[in-house]
Symmetry: C4
Subunit: 369 residues, 4 copies
């Protein structure tokens, strides 16, 4: 249980965040024009591996279409404001009018409105009508309740996302979601998480997941450590889950599960770092919430920020730095690492000498403290 | 003596604070409703393991009743203002009127008033009258002087608490307290500390303690390192003392001594971290001093802050963030990790997949720097 | 691939920056007057090893003459403002008028002007006319295009400098520069880089380089980590490349390649640190850009700061602290480590007991975190 | 040469400062009244081991008498203002009138005045007349020039102090001081340093030193790392030199050389930390310069701050926090660790369970980062 002795009765592993590591170029270099950033999950192919997270500050039915047109997978949160309000305009306006002192209670208030199952169906149909890859997320609890509507409405990719999702949930209450049975019965591919360890990920892979989310969801606005004492530094979590992918690939005789870093990707350089640790794709929230065309109205927040009795994320104020297109494809106007994320990934691959994402997973990394 | 070479004539161990570690979820999850946070010492059972520290800013005869009603053990300091003044109102008012420049000398002044032994008896009777588990603390020096009065007045749990308490105190002056004889003679269970090492804790356990306090008392307001050069990072101290508990359990043929982390628990997540290192319960000061109904009047201080010639703690200014109930049981209105401590512990256990405190001690931890 | 486990599928090396290390004096001391700071590359000898970097904020045809007179090698950037404008006065004025918000876009604008090949020739001739060692730099891409003009114009030292230069560039486009053939054909000595690893450096040495630049060019204004996720802490990079120099010395039967630390040298003490790691010389930008006679007009920037779509460096505001002479030879008026760089190096050698730069490479270093 | 690989051609040791370590109490405690803080060198005994450093901001002929009366050894700098000016009042006034921008050049100016050998004699006689242990310091260079006057004037303890003093100085100029011959010829005990390594210290011990100063002199105002790249973290340096003391004790058949930590002692807790690493005494500057009766006039500076061309220390502004007596013997009015240094040391020994300084050297230490 780790090579560090905390005290005589407890050992621990050292774990690393993306900001503690960096990529080292190989002895080869390439032209940025000659590298590929494409990413594929199941039958769906994307021109880049940057997934828009199911956060109300990033993905609305409208922005999903915009973001899809820019080449990436986009996930709508089916437990967000769009399924609680037929017209969430007033709720977004209330958020936009908040300040750093009031935002927590505003979020608790607007998310107190119950979810309307009919809106779940309506939102999925809205996305389908836009002709995009329709991906939407539910927590494990509500997955059990609403999955039939979601599938019937025509979702392409089903995302089951909670702070921690395990394939082995123990409950004395209602019969909990049996992920293994559920996923095999489903006709659509499932992305599921967060998970953060080899064992947890392996169980999710065995349950049939097409992709696993690595992390605890809260992302850059998460405060899980302060509130719960729980933390899984992302570089370590991704590298552990990538080991589970490798072992499951062998055990399953060739089923390759997508490893998606969900959290910790704050600057463009973090995309390359996540891949260097073994990720196939990244799910980002705050990075896209800074878009002038993001629905966040000056804030970014994870759904955990609206919890009625134990919020485990904060809303963070955002300043618009460009639109979705500029954030993903540039041009960057400074070197803050917030714009031209796909261009930066391409350049990173070229500098380090790798030609596609799978190859970049092999890049040497250093720890710098 | 440690695997780090400081220099050619000195080796050392690495030691860790709670903020350097975090819990890692297991592959299982649970419903928060299905976990138990209860804690037991001797014949007394509590619904949660968060003990109110014997600090005048937290525990008065009045607040002891409030806090007990909220489910936890509460300890009155018998060397605080309540045994120095029949009516400490004026002293508290002087503290409330102080600012960060004057508070140190105000504390030195109000604590210069000698202790009145009759008030020791009166305060214990006051607590008994309230029908709560009556726990009160003395330093080793005054324990020797006043223990008979304390026991006669009907204390349920006797707490002997000093910056460092050893079972082997060397003195050329008055015959010092012989802990071993003393504890075995006493009819009430004794909690004793601070201690911070395997050896010191083992000696206290052998002396008959029902619980040992791990730490140096000063807690979040302590400046022992600056003044004395002494420091025992809490994660390491707790894990060392938990090893002593395990070995003493074997040696004694089954006597289980409660390990209580006394210091370092500043945010709700630290409760789970202390338990992860092997604690059975935590003793908190600053966390409860932020209550609107705490007696601290805008400050939190440890008794060491009032030392006449060598203060080893600072008074820290506090801002009320909710009442005792909200701090312990929520609801939390933001994600700062200061409210709903019991709810956070419950959620932490559920997320990590453990059903009671004893089980949570097994959770995997990581070091993140 | 390193002794640190990031996670189960990824290992890494720890890497160190100059600010994490320091020199330890040997048991001998010397008089500062009796040590030599001289440095030699090919047939050119200099009284100190501090090379002025090809940054427009530092080296102009005029300042090159000043800096050469002060004893050091000075490199003009042939892709900077002096080859884009016959008279760059207006461009420098626009930069001088910028503030921290506008400087990025001003740089993108003034560097959008294309390079005029005739100015390349003119600038080299200007430097030659000043009677100094004429050193000038091009990126690999433009080296291929303009090297004949540069050589014909009479350059003494040819510097090929990019963020990452490899001896093995893969391109599907125009035939890329074949460094090995190119350098052997050339009649002038070539300094080439940046590189950051043993392998990459060894390949450049085998390609015939007289000196290799260690680092990523951006120096103190670089933000490569934020943008690309790439970073090579300088102490480690220099010590790795010095190992390549040693092995190539053996393999080549005696060809000693100069190792030049290009980045990370911010204070005078960093010069000694770079040498302690194995460098023969250092290339500095920001340190000289603080000169009252530097052309930078209140800013220092690397050429990467002007990239049209993905800037990977920031312009940093500078305050004049003395002229070139004072920065290099003193007197220092305070102990900030920004003045009298050569005097400081001399004193460092004397304190540690070494008499020349080659000897100083043997000094013991410690890691201090 | 160390167990950390900086890069493939360079290894290093980890080295530690006092603020990275702390003392751990043993299983025993003592009464503060029953511990001894006394310290002895040669025939001179002191009630505590805190030596006043030869800094003009701390020691004048007048303050030397005050500080001696408070129980400690006090060293006058014979290259300071008191030997440059018959009446340094005006120089001190100029310093007092300076601000943080002008202080460096003011120091360069007032220290430009040459040393008057007659004043060296006069100042020593002044101290003798006060009936105190007369200790005074010279740099190695001036020791050679003036030692006869110093000894003739009746110094009790001769201190040779430079940034780095080696027993093996190499010079092409005037014949340098041969420490070994010099010390054996001298009739008074010699304290010599700074040194920072086992080897350098062993050579000084073999040269006959009664005490060695560990460190680089500049102390809290030193900027040697920024300027020269040289640094020896104090915990490591003291522990290395203590190893040399142990080995020399054996080799010499019983000569015990005093190890004096000269630098890094900023707070009262650092005194205990230095002893824990093996020091017998500490030399402090900034701690005493904060006295209302210190001659520093609102600044503390090391003599290196006045160097004409390469200052390697900064003057730091000080705020009076009490007089010499309060700083050494209390009472402390807060817990900042700046007052009652001897009382804090006494309490630290009591808490950790040790009865004298030699015993305290055995205390367990931890590394906390």
């Amino acid at each position: 249980m780790g090579d560090i002795e905390i005290g005589q009765s407890k050992r621990a592993r050292a774990a690393f965040d993306f900001d503690q590591i960096a990529l080292v170029p190989s002895r080869r270099t390439r032209d940025p024009e000659n590298v590929s950033t494409s990413w594929k999950i199941d039958a769906f192919e994307f021109s880049h591996p940057i997934i828009a997270a199911p956060a109300d500050s990033v993905v609305s039915p409208t922005s999903a279409a915009q973001l899809s047109a820019l080449g990436g997978l986009t996930v709508l949160n089916l437990e967000g404001l769009w399924t609680r309000y037929a017209d969430p305009t007033a709720a977004f306006a209330e958020i936009a009018a908040a300040n750093s002192n009031t935002i927590s209670s505003v979020l608790q208030k607007v998310y107190a409105q119950p979810i309307d199952p009919e809106l779940i169906v309506a939102r999925i149909k809205e996305m389908r009508a836009a002709g995009i890859v329709t991906a939407a997320s539910l927590s494990p609890k509500l997955t059990q309740k609403y999955w039939q509507q979601v599938v019937a409405a025509g979702v392409d990719l089903f995302v089951i996302r909670g702070a921690t999702v395990s394939a082995e949930h123990v409950s004395n209450g209602d019969d909990p979601l049996n992920l293994k049975e559920f996923i095999y019965e489903l006709e659509v591919p499932v992305i599921v998480g967060g998970c953060a360890t080899y064992q947890a990920a392996l169980h999710l892979m065995r349950a049939g997941a097409a992709g696993v989310l690595v992390g605890f969801g809260g992302g850059s606005s998460g405060t899980t450590t302060a509130v719960l004492g729980v933390k899984v530094p992302m570089a370590t979590a991704v590298a552990d889950v990538a080991a589970a992918r490798r072992d499951y690939l062998d055990e399953s005789g060739g089923r390759y599960v997508q490893v998606i870093a969900d959290g910790g990707v704050h600057q463009t350089g973090d995309v390359a770092k996540a891949i260097a640790c073994g990720a196939d794709a990244v799910m980002v929230g705050s990075m896209l919430a800074r878009a002038s065309d993001a629905p966040g109205s000056g804030f970014h927040w994870a759904v955990e920020a609206g919890h009625p009795t134990l919020p485990r994320a904060s809303a963070i104020a955002t300043t618009a730095i460009g639109n979705f297109e500029q954030i993903l494809h540039g041009p960057a106007v400074n070197s803050a690492g917030l714009l031209n994320a796909v261009g930066a990934l391409r350049r990173s691959m070229a500098t380090c000498g790798y030609s596609d994402i799978k190859e970049l997973q092999r890049v040497e990394v250093i720890v710098s403290q």
